[in-house]
Chain length 351, copies 2
């Protein structure tokens, strides 16, 4: 990155705010020494914390806020009362050009509501989606929506597909990602009306070559496609089911290595290799969900993560900024909506 | 089991039919020496196979069928042309009282269509569901629907809850299983209308004490509840996502133990313990999905399983028969629908 890049942080979001946010920012500062930070939160408390992180202090400005969005606040309630909160103010920094992106570990519903209200959606996009990436047999994939939209129509799904495609190209660095619609079978007749309609629209756009078809639940881990598109209900349940399964297997493995003397000995000997496996599967590495489809970069960190996890969420924001992902999503939607020819059905489907 | 118990087998279903079915039946015969088998399939071929399994031969009768439902047949197509197939005939054996249950590794859609047509649903149940069980941190849970009903209304979900409850009591042997509705959050406002309505109905029935509330995707592996109720779309995607994740982790673990000399040595030493882990997580142990809500016991085996897996599917059918699960589902629905009092809303919701 040649130009100065600024990330706004909602220091009061998440279970261990603001300590974890500041320690996460300090880790991120080591990885991205040229990035500057705008820290939204209680000035005195942040000053005390920053005193322990001199390098971070040198690249940070504090913007004092007192109000905080709580984890239990409903989005509507937060929208009414939250304008002076660290979360809202940090998002406004992006709108006003003072920051290139914002990271928060706070209330997801409020973050989405604020971001939509303050930043607005990009032209051609009806609803933003939450996206994140997953380890697969072949590398990494991105899945969306992970919970922003409980019910989705065909146009929403098509828009998610195009946004996910840009995300896979910019953040995962995949040249021509394949897109799949999550379904209960691969045949054309499977799924509900909106899935079938989304498939027929995608086959008709210029993204047709990147559209793979319907994929099933096991295709996520197989890495059959790099972009998995689904409604926010299914995506949220699947995301958490995968996390739960991963924890279950890790726990079973832990119990196994404690089950006998030989098992414990084998563990000791294989420990370096098992440690790299743990690093590879560390959920903190996959921390940082993106609110895609907005006029600005908004990254949601898991509320319960630690400094290492929060630093990874910052890294996702930095990647998105450095790769000009918003500009690329905008361009892709412009190409779709301003294409010549009488293809009004597709145009209206996307617009 | 004191009385004679007969299981009908569709020997022509699954990827390795009829060999795997016969070898699976032979394994099941060792576990359940008093069970008799009705084998539906090509007589000469089955006779040749049975010649290698004398004990099984002694408790089996062959019913000759020539026609076969193929994996790619659509349910409607199979319903028109499949009346002479091994699958249809085996289901009729249950209807006519010649068998107590049927097991097939064939086409799921056709099996469900045939079973609904031949056996009919139980009084009070609009739609049957597919149920199966999962390993959890606390033991095992049952989840349904896993794919029979892509869209479900509140009454469907309530019926699934009651059927799943009986299943958990009979097959898993849990005295008072807790029921959860799979959702994207635990708050009352989460999810769509049918989930919220199902929750309010369940809280109003005599099953209220066994109704836990909304659960999320990670609650499946945690074992928060013993019965997880969801629509067939979500259930199918989640089932396969969990299977895919399990395979991904097993593969990562395999790669880890091959990644260095020490890792391989550690593996050798810990091998007995790791072998019990593999046995514990063996997907074949969880083979045998149940078509719940029918006037008869129908168990679906995975099409790609081996003899050990197929034997487990037979074991599920034997368990269901031995525990009189159909009778108990019938009773539970009668209690609900014939209860005294003016509670017509609940009655109509369930009927």
């Amino acid at each position: 990155m040649s130009e100065q890049l600024v990330i706004a942080l909602d220091t009061m979001g998440g279970d261990w705010a603001p300590e974890v946010v500041i320690r996460g920012a300090a880790l991120a500062q080591q990885r991205f020494p040229k990035v500057r930070f705008l820290l939204y939160g209680p000035e005195e408390r942040l000053k005390t914390l920053l005193a322990k992180h001199k390098a971070l202090q040198g690249v940070s400005d504090i913007v004092h806020t007192e109000s905080v969005v709580r984890a239990e606040d409903k989005p509507s309630q937060a929208l009414r009362n939250g304008r002076q909160s660290s979360m809202w103010q940090a998002i406004e920094a992006v709108r006003d050009g003072r920051a290139n992106g914002v990271v928060s570990a706070g209330n997801t519903g409020a973050l989405m509501a604020f971001a939509k209200f303050v930043l607005r959606t990009l032209p051609g996009i009806d609803r933003p989606a939450i996206a994140s990436f997953f380890p697969t047999l072949k590398g990494e994939s991105v899945m969306l929506d992970l919970g922003a939209n409980i019910q989705c129509d065909a146009n929403n799904l098509v828009q998610f597909a195009i946004m996910g495609n840009v995300f896979a190209r910019t953040v995962l660095g995949i040249e021509a990602p394949q897109i799949g619609l999550l379904n209960v079978g691969s045949e054309d007749v499977k799924g509900d009306e909106s899935l079938r309609e989304a498939q027929s629209i995608l086959r008709d756009t210029e993204f047709a070559r990147q559209y793979y078809g319907f994929v099933e639940g096991d295709d996520i881990a197989k890495g059959t496609v790099e972009v998995i598109v689904t409604d926010g209900f299914t995506g949220n349940v699947v995301l958490k089911a995968i996390e739960g399964t991963a924890k279950l297997y890790a726990e079973f493995l832990r119990q196994t290595f404690k089950s006998s003397f030989l098992a414990a000995l084998g563990y000791m000997i294989a420990r370096p290799a098992l440690r790299s496996l743990r690093i590879r599967l560390d959920p903190r590495r996959y921390n940082g969900a993106i609110l895609l489809g907005l006029n600005g970069i908004v990254v949601k960190s898991h509320g319960g993560t630690d400094a290492f996890g929060f630093a990874n969420a910052i890294a996702v924001a930095v990647d998105l900024v450095a790769n000009k992902s918003i500009e690329r999503i905008r361009q892709d939607f412009e190409r779709l909506t301003h294409r010549p020819g009488p293809d009004s059905e597709i145009q209206s489907a996307v617009v």
